[in-house]
């Protein structure tokens, strides 16, 4: 396991470097550098070139890149011209809200998704299975920005149960978390369903059933343990989708996390914030993938021994 882990760590560092560099390239290809964007159309040429000088934008591209890479390594992404503060400070200020939102949505999605998946997968082709398959297909097809708006319409405007936007207390968390959890629940349910269906067809489940074990124990002790492994593996691959969904959901509910910060910064061309947020989210995705691998090795002795790849 250890050499595998070291290899994975190396790959992870490479991937983050790639993400950092790609972000740099995209922002340099974009029309108008930070100086022209920041000063607006009314600025004089002298002002623009003075700011360019100040921001170091007239140095050779390679020097700028290395400088950016060096600063990024120390967690410095420059100063946000909108917030008049270090981009890293602004981003880290907003980050806990995103973690809270994505974390809650994950817990909700895993709980309900596993439950639905087991219900559907233990009797493939039966009514429960077909109903759950239909529901999850719809849940995955609904765009989250739309389901969010519809939840606002129903829960906030019509029933007046929950606030429609903003962040702060627990009430504000409910609608965004549910919205974000909807497609993810469906994903977990669908993977769990096929995994449970596959495992329950195994001979050892028949053995467990024929020796008279109650169905509850057959499922919890024999079927579930083995069906969870592919669920962890595939769900971890979709953590990126979850974080991307969080960006949109935050925008719908004016949730003060890094997602709404990024969308605002993209609109204002606040490049320091754009770079910092992108890199932070990439690190989150890569780290979560690594954690999922470790978790999977804990769950499956075959992976620990290096039998299954």
């Amino acid at each position: 396991m250890l050499p595998q882990l070291i290899r994975r760590l190396g790959l992870m560092i490479f991937t983050v470097w790639g993400a950092v560099s790609l972000t740099f390239v995209i922002l340099r290809l974009a029309p108008g550098d930070q100086a022209t964007v920041q000063l607006g159309p009314d600025a004089t040429a002298a002002d623009v070139s003075a700011l360019r000088e100040e921001l170091g934008l007239n140095r050779p591209m390679l020097v700028q890149y290395l400088d950016y890479l060096g600063s990024a390594l120390t967690g410095d992404f420059g100063e946000s011209y909108r917030f008049r503060d270090s981009a890293t400070t602004v981003i880290l200020d907003r980050f806990p809200a995103t973690v809270l939102l994505a974390g809650t949505a994950t817990v909700v999605a895993l709980t309900i998704g596993l439950l639905l998946g087991i219900l559907a997968g233990r009797a493939p082709g039966k009514l429960a299975d077909r109903a759950i398959s239909g529901i999850t297909l719809v849940m995955q097809a609904i765009p989250s920005f739309w389901s969010g708006i519809m939840l606002i319409l129903l829960m906030a405007l019509t029933l007046r149960l929950l606030p429609s936007a903003g962040s702060g207390d627990l009430q504000h968390l409910v609608l965004p978390a549910v919205t974000l959890a909807i497609p993810f629940t469906a994903l977990v349910a669908r993977i769990t369903r096929s995994s449970v269906a596959e495992v329950t067809a195994e001979p050892y489940i028949m053995t467990a059933r024929s020796k008279g074990l109650p169905e509850r124990l057959v499922l919890s002790r024999h079927a579930l343990r083995n069906s969870v492994i592919p669920v962890v593996a595939i769900v971890s691959l979709h953590i990126g989708t979850l974080m991307g969904g969080a960006v949109i959901v935050e925008q719908v509910f004016a949730w003060e996390g890094v997602g709404s910060l990024l969308v605002g910064a993209v609109g204002n061309r606040d490049y320091a914030i754009v770079q910092g947020t992108t890199v932070l989210l990439a690190i989150v995705v890569v780290t979560m993938n690594l954690l999922a691998d470790v978790l999977n090795a804990r769950l499956d002795p075959r992976i620990r021994a290096g039998v299954a790849s």
Binding site: G18, I26, V138, A141, M243, Q251
Partner: protein, 297 residues
């Protein structure tokens, strides 16, 4: 389901009892429904704008925020109601279908071509080519979902080309991974080995002995990715980062309706239903294609 594929019934199927035959027929019609609905969307996208007059700048201010089914000042009926500028919502849904289908098709075409080329070559050749391709894919996968599209669409000037590029940048990965893994296993098959031994050129082996086997699953994946591309385009438009505001997109209409949610729910609700229904039908079709090609493989 698997036993049905494995155990062949030697006797010809007995004629079904009338009740069962009817049930089979009903099931067949239900199963065809998603494809029919999908087809309707495509037809609406292609010829709808010829019959329905809709202008993003037109609209009578007297007709603002009318509920679905209202009569307009010019005598017509607004089937889906009107928006805050008095523009017909039905027209927006039809024109939006055109935008969605057009962008979805373009993105999937580009992504499939790029993904297929990169994946097949990487999987077949292996070695350094594969290593480079795999690392590029790793880097792109580190960007969460739609994030890269948001950044690209956001910092460049808004245009159709930028939206298509922004969505294709991550969309091709699925195709590349599929064709890579398939090419890797096909490379070890006997007919490919024989062709190699006989001295057939690599390019010809890929074209004649590998690509035909990847085509089916790729088509199935293209259907699924089409749904994803439509959703992503709508998301970009919703964030205000999609097409220029002169064009019609469901995402834009849904975003515009959010302000009038309390008084005119239909502006956001109806385009969303149109979008979700299309994605569901495409998803159903994609699932069936995936199952079909999965069994044959």
């Amino acid at each position: 389901m698997t036993t049905m594929g494995l155990v062949q019934n030697p006797a010809p199927p007995a004629p079904l009892a009338p009740a069962r035959a009817r049930r089979t027929r009903v099931r067949r019609v239900v199963a065809a429904l998603p494809i029919v609905v999908f087809g309707l969307y495509v037809v609406a996208a292609i010829i709808g704008p010829l019959f329905i007059d809709y202008s993003p700048v037109g609209g009578e201010l007297d007709d603002r925020l009318l509920p679905p089914g209202s009569v307009l000042s010019d005598g017509g009926t607004a089937l889906f109601g009107t928006d805050a500028l008095g523009r017909d919502l039905f027209g927006q849904v039809v024109y939006g279908a055109r935008t969605s289908v057009f962008i979805g098709t373009l993105v999937v075409l580009i992504s499939a071509l790029v993904g297929l080329a990169v994946g097949t070559v990487a999987g077949y050749r292996g070695g350094t080519t594969d290593l480079v391709a795999s690392r590029v894919i790793d880097v792109l996968l580190a960007f969460p979902g739609i994030l890269l599209a948001i950044v690209i669409a956001g910092v460049f000037d808004r245009s159709l080309a930028i939206v298509v590029i922004a969505l294709s940048v991550t969309n091709w990965i699925g195709f590349a991974r599929l064709s890579r893994s398939m090419a890797m296993s096909l490379r070890e098959r006997d007919w490919v080995k024989s062709a190699t031994v006989m001295g057939v050129r690599r390019r010809r082996i890929i074209a004649r002995h590998i690509l035909p086997f990847i085509a089916g699953p790729t088509f199935a994946l293209a259907t699924t990715e089409f749904a994803g591309a439509i959703l992503a385009e709508a998301s970009l438009s919703f964030l205000g980062l999609g097409l220029p505001s002169a064009s019609v997109s469901w995402g834009q209409t849904i975003a515009a309706g959010k302000e009038y949610l309390a008084s005119a729910w239909w502006i956001s609700a109806i385009p969303g239903i149109a979008l979700a229904l299309l994605v569901i039908c495409v998803g159903f079709t994609g699932d069936r294609l995936t199952r079909y090609f999965g069994r044959r493989r």
